[in-house]
Symmetry: C2
Subunit: 168 residues, 2 copies
């Protein structure tokens, strides 16, 4: 398989999980408005249960579609499901860790943490999925280089479509 | 070779290149005080020629020492030199790209760009060295997870030793 194609194909559930809360989000915040011991919000209003479970569902469903499009890459539907679920969960957990760190540094919600926003969810997704199925080093490095560019491009797009209040 | 040991051994020249400008830095800034078209400095006073060539020299010398400690890992002094030089150059260039992005976002010099500061130099070093010699995916993911912790720890240490004016 072409390595550029494989890299994107592999990471697709993580990309979908990371971007779907922008559309599916809203509702009760995951921290229920609670504060950490530093007096600041644990995660902030940007992280909601609907966004989390929406992202997890969308990411896992992408894996089902991927399996039916290319069953040989996965071997079984079970593995495709497990992989997509872990990539989505890793992406979402990485994003939550990022929000937690940003709140501790007192960065306002939606404020860009350059690097953390673009790489955090990706690195977390790659780590969560690693025990089930992984990609070669060269493809990981490729994703680390192109994801910030894609992340920036899609955020500007989401901002222009009115889905996000800030262009990052 | 133990994968945790190999990961650290492999990346050592990049770590040294990235941290030595703190001690060896100062002097003429690499942008010669010039401004970008947005009216802000290209890189800022934190990036100097002495820091750059100091980091490149230290990183490459680490590779020489590593070769004499473990020649079998490299096969030849030439490869050890080339690898250490590329890891050091990649780390320093990644740091410069980070400074350039931070200046464009109008973050003051020394202001933390969470993620960019910890991952930028590492990802850049891994990419520069990739064509010469690389490490498996699992070791790359390990370095991506532990480097921010080490980076944060050493910066706090450098701050407490009076080598840095801010603890990040």
């Amino acid at each position: 398989m072409n390595p550029v194609f494989e890299a994107f194909w592999y990471i697709l559930p993580a990309y979908f999980a990371n971007s779907s809360p922008v559309v599916l989000g809203g509702g009760t915040p995951m921290d229920f408005g609670k504060k950490w011991k530093d007096g600041r919000r644990i995660l902030g209003d940007g992280k909601t249960w609907r966004g989390f479970f929406g992202g997890l569902t969308v990411g896992t469903l992408i894996g089902v579609i991927q399996y039916y499009l290319m069953p040989s890459y996965y071997g079984s539907l079970g593995l495709a499901l497990k992989l997509a679920f872990l990539l989505a969960l890793g992406a979402l957990v990485g994003d939550l860790i990022g929000s937690f760190i940003k709140r501790r540094l007192d960065l306002p919600r939606g404020y860009p943490a350059v690097g953390l926003d673009q790489w955090g969810f990706l690195i977390s997704a790659l780590c969560f999925a690693y025990p089930v199925k992984t990609i070669p080093t060269g493809e990981v490095l490729f994703l680390l280089v192109v994801t910030p560019l894609i992340h920036w491009g899609t955020n500007v797009f989401a901002y222009k479509m009115g889905w996000k209040s800030v262009p990052w």
